[in-house]
């Protein structure tokens, strides 16, 4: 009896205190948000500074020009060796004696699990919501060009990786910048590698962590109702901690197996919606094409659509950023260029296929309001984005678009978002760790320090509001690209040498298919 009484009193006390606790919690969220925005503001402003006299961020141009240069320099490698890339992934050229080592498919799948995720779901919605359907056109173009950037960095990632005596490997821009510059007799390699590593750590904590936690919280609270973000943050941080510090591989294993399934389910659902609305597909492509060159009334017109498309493509497929080079460097091959060929499939799958699917579903679902008089999109009250039926933006807009075709899909999407977020965090915790150990040396204390910092940032990311988080995430990822692409310009001749040597042997028949 006493126990019941005690329990009853305790419950009553908890209920009475609940609103107070909630207020305090929201107060914590706001404080975290304010401090975070103040701290990251100058860094974000520098990265996204526009060309003088324009609204065009220089960083977007930096990425697109680089991708275009690599495309031309390697003679449209992404199209000429596309078929060969597929053959490599299938294992046609893999040595049977290497069975049990990391295959091309596994390296590609691992890199993809780090990139396919919220960028494809929430990021595309942000791009289309602000830049209109036309942003999709520029996103596809950026994806196609980005394949050449990925080819360049991943070839170098394998060529200059560190292989240790115990058989483990470490690779990525930190290694190819310092070793490649040394090989070419260029100064400053070590400095640039350190600079990249610093930005990589920030990118891992930003786009690879906080943005993911933030959007996962938005998705969960959208379904169960609003509650303080730090709660999601602590739960997520606990699970991430269990995997990366506690070494509980089973959680990672389950995620790594469910995530590809979720990816297929997502594309499948998009296909279903497109098939059901097959009569609108032509119209949707018309909107994408018209919007690309006219803007169809969006803020900033054609340039606005272009900026959004390019920005989101870069954030989604990470071409030129250097992160994929870390993931791809573990492959077993004696020909570094083969991993370059395989990696060029990544922006294709991520941006050209999955992002385009999302964009088409959003356009076809007509969640964005069109002015019947002009045929242009109507802007929201602030004039910053397109007005939507329910006022949705980001992941909520994608969710509403899918719900218009498959009513129960938002629940699947919510699970997918959480899992994608989690798998991206696991991947980026590794990228960040590699950068961290490059700076501070391999060792248990150094590794644990980074892993704990990573988990703390999960909580901050879930607590802060979307604006500052998305700005910092983009800025940190793009800062990696500043250093990486600068160095790739010097190192690309090493890749060309590899390309010539390999393709000559391929054409003479010296390199044969093992499966034939």
């Amino acid at each position: 009896m006493n126990n019941f009484k005690t329990l009853g009193l305790a419950t009553a006390a908890t209920l009475a205190a609940a609103p107070l606790a909630a207020e305090e919690a929201i107060g914590i969220d706001q404080k975290v948000n304010q401090v975070f925005a103040d701290l990251t503001g100058p860094f974000v402003s520098l990265i996204f500074a526009p060309f003088p006299g324009t609204t065009f961020p220089w960083i977007v141009m930096w990425l697109v020009i680089a991708a275009s240069i690599f495309t031309l320099y390697f003679g449209f490698v992404q199209f000429r060796y596309f078929k060969h890339a597929i053959q490599l992934v299938k294992g046609d050229y893999s040595d049977p004696n290497d069975a049990g080592e990391v295959s091309h498919f596994q390296a590609l799948a691992t890199a993809l699990s780090g990139t396919v995720g919220l960028g494809n779901i929430a990021g595309v919605a942000v791009a289309v919501g602000i830049g209109g359907p036309g942003a999709t056109f520029w996103m596809i173009l950026a994806g196609l060009l980005g394949m050449a950037s990925k080819f360049t960095e991943c070839t170098l990632g394998v060529k200059y990786r560190n292989e240790y005596a115990d058989g483990t490997v470490s690779g990525g821009p930190m290694y190819y910048i310092s070793k490649g510059f040394k090989e070419l007799g260029l100064p400053g390699g070590r400095f640039l590698a350190v600079l990249f590593a610093i930005f990589c750590i920030l990118g891992a904590l930003g786009g690879g962590n906080m943005f993911q936690a933030n959007q996962a919280h938005a998705q969960i609270s959208g379904i169960v109702g609003d509650y303080p973000g730090w709660i999601t943050g602590i739960v997520f941080a606990g699970v991430v901690f269990a995997v990366i510090v506690g070494g509980i591989k089973s959680i990672a294993h389950v995620t790594e197996k469910i995530v590809p399934f979720m990816g297929v389910l997502y594309v499948g659902a998009a296909m279903v919606i497109l098939v059901v609305n097959y009569d609108k597909i032509g119209w949707a492509f018309g909107q994408i094409f018209d919007g690309a060159f006219t803007g169809l009334g969006v803020a900033g017109g054609m340039v606005g659509a272009l900026i959004q498309g390019f920005k989101r493509a870069a954030f989604s497929n990470e071409a030129g950023v250097g992160s994929a080079a870390i993931a791809h460097s573990a492959v077993k091959t004696n020909e570094p260029i083969t991993e370059g060929f395989v990696s060029l499939l990544e922006p294709l799958i991520d941006t050209v296929v999955i992002c385009t699917m999302t964009a088409l579903v959003i356009v076809i679902s007509q969640q964005m309001i069109i002015d019947p008089a002009t045929g242009n999109y109507m802007l929201n009250e602030a004039g910053t984005a397109i007005a939507t039926v329910d006022g949705n933006s980001g992941v909520a807009l994608t969710s509403a678009a899918f719900a218009s075709g498959i009513s129960w899909f938002p629940y699947v999407l919510a699970i997918a978002v959480v899992l994608f977020a989690f798998s991206t965090m696991i991947s980026w915790s590794y990228y960040g760790l590699k950068a961290w150990t490059y700076l501070f040396g391999e060792g248990k204390v150094a590794e644990l320090t980074f892993k704990v910092i990573f988990c703390i940032f999960v909580v901050i990311g879930a607590s802060a509001s979307l604006g500052p988080v998305i700005d910092f995430s983009d800025a940190a990822i793009f800062a990696m690209a500043v250093v990486n692409i600068f160095c790739l310009y010097f190192l690309m001749k090493l890749v060309k040498k590899e390309l010539f040597a390999y393709t000559a042997r391929l054409q003479t028949g010296e390199l044969k298919k093992h499966s034939a």
């Binding site: 069975a99 990391v102 498919f105 197996k257």
Partner: protein
């Protein structure tokens, strides 16, 4: 002419029975070489974390060493002690496909495997693998119950 027989081991009683049967058969056949094979189930089309990829080469070596030390080397030693010409091999891959490949590469004329394994290592290796082997092997397969 020397006949070569491949024995598919799995580290359990079932594999032991296949080994015993092979010994019995070989003793009746006369000139016969025995190849004790252990295949670690592996597919190039699985999904792994970046950390697992980075450590994969090291793990592969550990897996091969472990399989050699615990399963293949003791089996080869026992066969040699019984007076047979015996060698051992450990490979990664699809069990049925790899056992067949080992047999073809070595000019083997027969494969002997256990029927169904109970648990542990065995579960990963046999089960449906035995059925696949029976259906697709290029040489006769004896399944020991």
């Amino acid at each position: 002419m020397t006949v070569k027989i491949v024995i598919g081991l799995d580290g359990t009683d079932t594999g032991e029975r296949a080994l015993a049967f092979a010994k019995d058969l070989a003793s009746k056949m006369g000139a016969c070489d025995l190849i004790a094979a252990y295949v670690i189930e592996w597919s190039p089309f699985t999904f792994q974390t970046p950390e697992e990829n980075a450590q994969r080469h090291k793990r592969r070596e550990e897996e091969i060493n472990l399989a050699n030390a615990r399963i293949v080397e003791p089996a080869v030693a026992a066969l040699k002690e019984a007076g047979f010409n015996a060698t051992g091999v450990v490979r990664h891959g699809d069990v049925a496909e790899t056992l067949n490949k080992i047999t073809v590469e070595n000019g083997g004329s027969q494969i002997i495997v256990g029927r169904v394994s109970s648990d542990g290592f065995a579960k990963r290796i046999f089960g449906s693998s035995t059925q696949n082997l029976v259906m697709h092997a290029d040489v006769p397969v004896t399944v020991v119950g």
